[in-house]
Subunit: 311 residues, 2 copies
């Protein structure tokens, strides 16, 4: 077991990343990023063992990767470009060092994927493993917010919905190993950075889907003072989800609407404009209700609007 | 007990802060700060219950205050000006809501003290209370780093040393109540923001003293490739420390050199220059040793170079 300062040195070595954006990286009292003419976007996310991940279900590098991606997803939802990250770890003294370094390795590989160098962090002792990731980005000229949706706007999503939540259910229920495509979908979410950047200036409002589509649309509804009407049949589902979900006692469209964990973007586009990407799934209404219509135009009732997977 | 979204709404209300620097504050996927021509300074610090603070020793608002100040101290050590903060809380479900809101109130009052609005954060469930604070600042033209000290430079510190560590020892030993001046000194550290800004462009290297003067000087020594020679008699001590420390079985100068918790700045100044503030306590040498000399010019030996108060 390494002493504290050696441990920090080892973490620093594994996170080494040369970047012209970074004036001063890990190793001083604070880091310094090069000046930019852009607004500065910032967000923070925390992943706690037993709440957001489990060491007996996920490999340490995958846990580290996911912690950074989930934080970056918030930058995607603003249309921002990642610039740097800070990582604060709370680590029990009993934690095996290979787990700690494995998590760091996952963060290290992900910073390269997203060109988002980790420029600083903190290592604290505690009783419970957690990873708090701060991400800093450059704002686009017209940042995406939750507040700009207007009645009549089209509602769109990137990618597919429900597969990640299904994968998590499979994983926690010991119904599939980590190689199952849906488990992979949960374990390796993608922050939709490129998509968010293309939507800036086009989309009237956006959010990333972490808690479940309906719940996250609720945030746009509240911030914009609108509602939504969704058509069940237009939800983008993976074909296999229609078989796999029932085998778990779940319904595919319920997973898609309330499962969360997708980290896709939900976004609205003003009337008459076509977005460069995404699947149309509904329309913004004067609200405040969020209604889902079946093929016969009847409203579908959902008691659940997001559920807690780990408890 | 409030539901999750009501709780977040209440926290958001208590942290409300109008600032021209903030384009978009709490409540979206991420916050946006106004563009600036300055380099962007960032740092993160985590305080864990039982490791960095105790609920049975400190009032919740004081815990919140201290979490933000300790993070801001790293900006001071760079000569940076605070712009915004992000606060990520891990909160046990069993935690009394008045404690959570008390911590938030302490953060709220401190953001005003330092003109450093909290623009975002995260609330996660977990088994152990912790506060992770990210601070963002504007870099001065010549940021202070740990790497610029040269042999012959003078070594200086702001304020007094040892009182905060003595206060913590009094508090943990139940030897004084929270009104004792040294306990207050521990509970209410000051981030030396104004001092750091005045030292930028003057000082060749700087660090804030969190772990103890000798240990923190070790970081400058390593980053600059130098050593230090300190004179014991020039250490700035509170007069009462000479009486109070022995009553705890401690020596005043040991507290000053190894106690930590001061959050003063230690900084070096090139030969021939006079800093606008601070007390001279020594000289930079070619190193690598850090030596402390008594009034007779003999080296004082310190086995301890920083100790852990809570265990």
């Amino acid at each position: 077991v390494l002493a504290e300062f050696e441990r920090i040195g080892e973490i620093r070595r594994r996170l080494s990343y040369e970047s012209a954006e970074v004036v001063l990286g890990i190793g001083d009292d604070a880091a310094i990023l090069a000046p930019t003419e852009c607004g500065q976007v910032c967000s923070v996310d925390t992943q706690v063992e037993g709440v957001h991940f489990r060491l007996d279900r996920s490999a340490p590098p995958d846990i580290g990767e996911r912690a950074l991606v989930v934080a970056l997803s918030d930058l995607a939802a603003m249309g921002a470009t990642p610039r740097a990250a800070l990582v604060s770890l709370i680590v029990p003294t009993s934690l095996d060092e290979t787990i700690l370094f494995g998590i760091v390795d996952g963060i290290a590989r992900t910073q390269h994927t997203y060109a988002c160098p980790v420029v600083g962090g903190n290592l604290a002792r505690g009783g419970e493993l957690s990873i708090t990731t701060t991400v800093l980005g450059a704002a686009p000229t017209a940042p995406l917010t939750r507040g700009g949706a207007r009645p009549g706007d089209g509602l769109f999503v990137t990618g597919e919905l429900g597969s990640a939540a299904c994968g998590l259910a499979l994983l926690l229920g010991n119904r599939a190993n980590v190689n199952h495509p849906f488990v992979q979908r949960w374990q390796h979410p993608v922050a939709r950075i490129a998509e968010g950047r293309r939507l800036a200036g086009v989309s009237s409002a956006a959010i990333d889907i972490s808690d479940g589509l309906l719940q996250d649309l609720g945030h746009i509804a509240q911030a914009s003072g609108v509602g939504f009407e969704l058509t069940l049949t237009t939800l983008p589902l993976h074909p296999d989800l229609l078989q796999t979900a029932p085998s778990l006692g779940l319904q595919a469209h319920v997973l898609a609407l309330t499962g969360g964990e997708d980290y896709e973007l939900a976004f609205t586009v003003p009337v008459g404009r076509e977005p460069p990407l995404g699947t149309r799934i509904g329309t913004v209404t004067s609200g405040p209700q969020i209604r889902v219509l079946d093929p016969n135009g009847h409203e579908v009732d959902f008691a659940n609007t997001g559920f807690d997977h780990f408890e």
